[in-house]
Subunit: 448 residues, 2 copies
């Protein structure tokens, strides 16, 4: 039922100084629409936007903006205004923003904050951006286990508007350790004089602040949680991570994987500058150049053979190319399986033998088709038979390397999604040429 | 703080008939751990598990199990038992399970259900699995807008345990149309005699049952929602989709994309049977074979040239291979950008020209390195110069095709993530060979 604001509408509002219309739009719909238009605005328009927005709405847009854009907004208002905006923002969003701001300004801002805020924000700032601590919020409700349901309900009503999650209440003991959680629906339906300890769920799934955000996302997704608490070694609760931040993590990691598989850094987007794109992409191309030379040198070993049967030069690329495709198939399935990691060793072995069989069968079919066509083009049946055998051989190589490379990389602590393809392709290229041209050399008299 | 149950522990519990231990485990921790072990169990062990579990816990494990495993469980108990289990399950989970069961048994089961359940389940069954209707649940709270906050609170307490989401209450008018939502924290803090209409948020982001699940996931993720309502054309609320199901959608689509980019069906996993793997992978290999032949025929056109300068046969693969790598880089960035779709046409054009420049610069660097090495190996400087020019040419081809193919595919309604690579690789292979060998033919006297 909602209409998203377009860039043109926003620019018109800014040009006409329609502060009222802008604030109405944010009240009614969502600050995220405006936050998403920020990259399209000129610096001057961003400045105009900040001056038209009321402080509370400015805070909403800032919370929704990408880091880079949030910094642009922060730079177009004064430090005093920014401090005022902070009073409407969640501490974790403040920490995220402040972490991106130049050192000197950051120190000034932290000095200007209230003591309580300052302590929370500096604590949040010490965790890496992609750790549980880096994505947690400190806006949660925790209550002592000795509290009655009635008292708890009163407390929840009081603090409801300052927290991110009210469906789960965190329960602590006298030593401030997290001992359980209560679901709000349990609190709503339980007799008023029961204590929280009586109704709480004692098995709490939690994480530590230094845990990787990807591990956090896996737990939240596996156990269908609305939020997950972050605790320290003394089991004190430090914060919670909410499900909307977990979705951001999943989407971010997804984009990273897709790009890194293709040798592109997660930092790059369509709007990255030319110089940065070169810096980010050229290294990967040069690494690939080294492996391309490996394949080229393999072919060079057989130049004498190719000189005598020139048809080999055009047909050899079919064998190596098909090996690359088959290898990518196996490798993708392995990478996905390793990311889930829920299969027994016996099943891995069974799957490994299946890949070899698959290489023989798929190689047999593709090789037979290729062999027949090659025979029809060049009129030499031996060339067809050699390409059949080489195709089977190279698709087995594809199955073995597509399987073994990701498993080995994971064992050595490397990310299989990122670096598998270069090894698998090298194997299928080099061995593809070697098997085909080697066979051709062996049976050279039959081919001439 | 939670220990995940291992397969060996579960098997021990089943062998020793430890029903009590099993139910304690499910009470305290989570049915999902047991659901995830199901693929590792033999049929007999699944049967044993079902007989040991109390009906309520059986329902929990069933809700968490993958479709295939849920069917295995359903098959190992009687229809009467299954109907009893259903009374503890959400309607959407029942519909998902029933949708997977063989026709004859499904009809029997639906007949045995209570009228109310039957109507809801058959309604849910009519939506495709990957549509908003297919993933929605009917367990939500909707209240009339004329109701007071106090009455609303009483109603919420009454139904809290039967719904999936209590943080958002859906508000309807006299014609049963969805007119707004109330946040539970608003209801908790508002004066008791205010009506829901007074405090409700009128701008509801909603979807229609036939909407694609991926579009639903995008909305929930963009607006940080806990749940999104599904409405029909008369604006009546049909159900809601909760954030945990949205996470499942995102993870599922992610795995699909990764696999389909590599020419693997989303249906395939490491444990897929040999026959199914052949059926799923061979077609893609055969399509690739056709494009491999295109490249091969391009080389064949220049066999005369290669016969005279055999060094071309080993060096040509470097040019085509590097084009493929560079094309994959550009294509990945485009595919990601198109999935987000938040950039203006002007920025696209700017990025397009950048890709061409990038092709010239990266091609220049890689081509120079290659040219020098080739000169050192073969002692012919003209061969080095030709490979430099061809590399620049093919990396420009890579930039153009890596950019244009995904954009064109999206325009024609195809999924760029799935089918881009085959076109981009064909372009870089065919044109890579053509440019390099064409130049070599043109300057043949200099190379001999």
């Amino acid at each position: 039922m909602t209409e998203t604001m377009t860039l043109n509408e926003l620019i018109r509002i800014l040009n006409d100084n329609e502060a009222a219309e802008l604030s109405e739009y944010i009240e009614e719909v969502n600050a995220v629409d405006i936050a998403q238009l920020l990259p399209e605005l000129e610096d001057e328009q961003v400045w105009k936007l900040c001056s038209l927005l009321e402080v509370e709405n400015l805070a909403k847009v800032l919370e929704q903006a990408e880091d880079e854009q949030a910094v642009r907004m922060a730079e177009s208002i004064t430090n005093d205004e920014l401090i005022e905006v902070f009073s409407y923002m969640q501490k974790d969003d403040i920490a995220d923003l402040i972490g991106e701001i130049p050192d000197a300004q950051r120190k000034l801002l932290i000095k200007q904050m209230q003591v309580g805020d300052r302590n929370q924000v500096t604590t949040l700032l010490q965790y890496p951006e992609d750790s549980a601590g880096g994505i947690m919020t400190t806006a949660y409700i925790s209550l002592p286990e000795t509290m009655s349901v009635a008292e708890g309900m009163a407390k929840i009503k009081q603090t409801a508007n300052k927290t991110e999650v009210i469906e789960t209440i965190y329960v602590t003991n006298a030593r401030h350790q997290l001992t359980g959680t209560c679901n709000l629906r349990q609190i709503l339906t339980a007799p008023k004089n029961t204590t929280l300890k009586d109704i709480m769920n004692e098995n709490v799934i939690s994480v530590h602040p230094e845990d990787d955000q990807e591990a956090v996302a896996k737990l939240v997704s596996r156990y269908d949680l609305n939020a997950i608490p972050v605790i320290n070694n003394r089991k004190s609760i430090l914060g919670i991570i909410t499900v909307d931040d977990v979705i951001d993590v999943i989407v971010e990691e997804y984009n990273e994987d897709i790009l890194e598989m293709a040798g592109v850094s997660k930092e790059e987007s369509l709007t990255t500058s030319l110089v940065d794109s070169i810096r980010l992409r050229l290294p990967w191309l040069l690494i690939n150049l080294a492996t391309a030379f490996l394949a080229s040198l393999t072919v060079k070993m057989f130049e004498g053979t190719i000189e005598q049967v020139v048809a080999l030069s055009s047909t050899m690329t079919i064998v190596s190319g098909m090996g690359g495709n088959a290898g990518t198939q196996t490798q993708s399935i392995l990478v996905r399986q390793l990311a889930q990691d829920d299969i027994s060793r016996a099943k891995y072995w069974k799957a490994f033998w299946k890949e070899i069989l698959l290489g023989i069968i798929n190689g047999g079919v593709c090789g037979a088709v290729t062999g027949i066509i090659v025979y029809m083009i060049y009129g030499n049946s031996f060339l067809g038979i050699i390409i059949l055998i080489a195709m089977i051989g190279n698709l087995v190589v594809a199955g073995v390397s597509g399987f073994a490379v990701p498993v080995a990389l994971k064992k050595f602590g490397a990310d299989p999604a990122v670096s598998s393809s270069i090894f698998v392709t090298t194997a299928t290229d080099v061995l593809g040429f070697f098997i085909f041209l080697g066979l051709a050399k062996l049976f050279l008299p039959l081919l001439m």
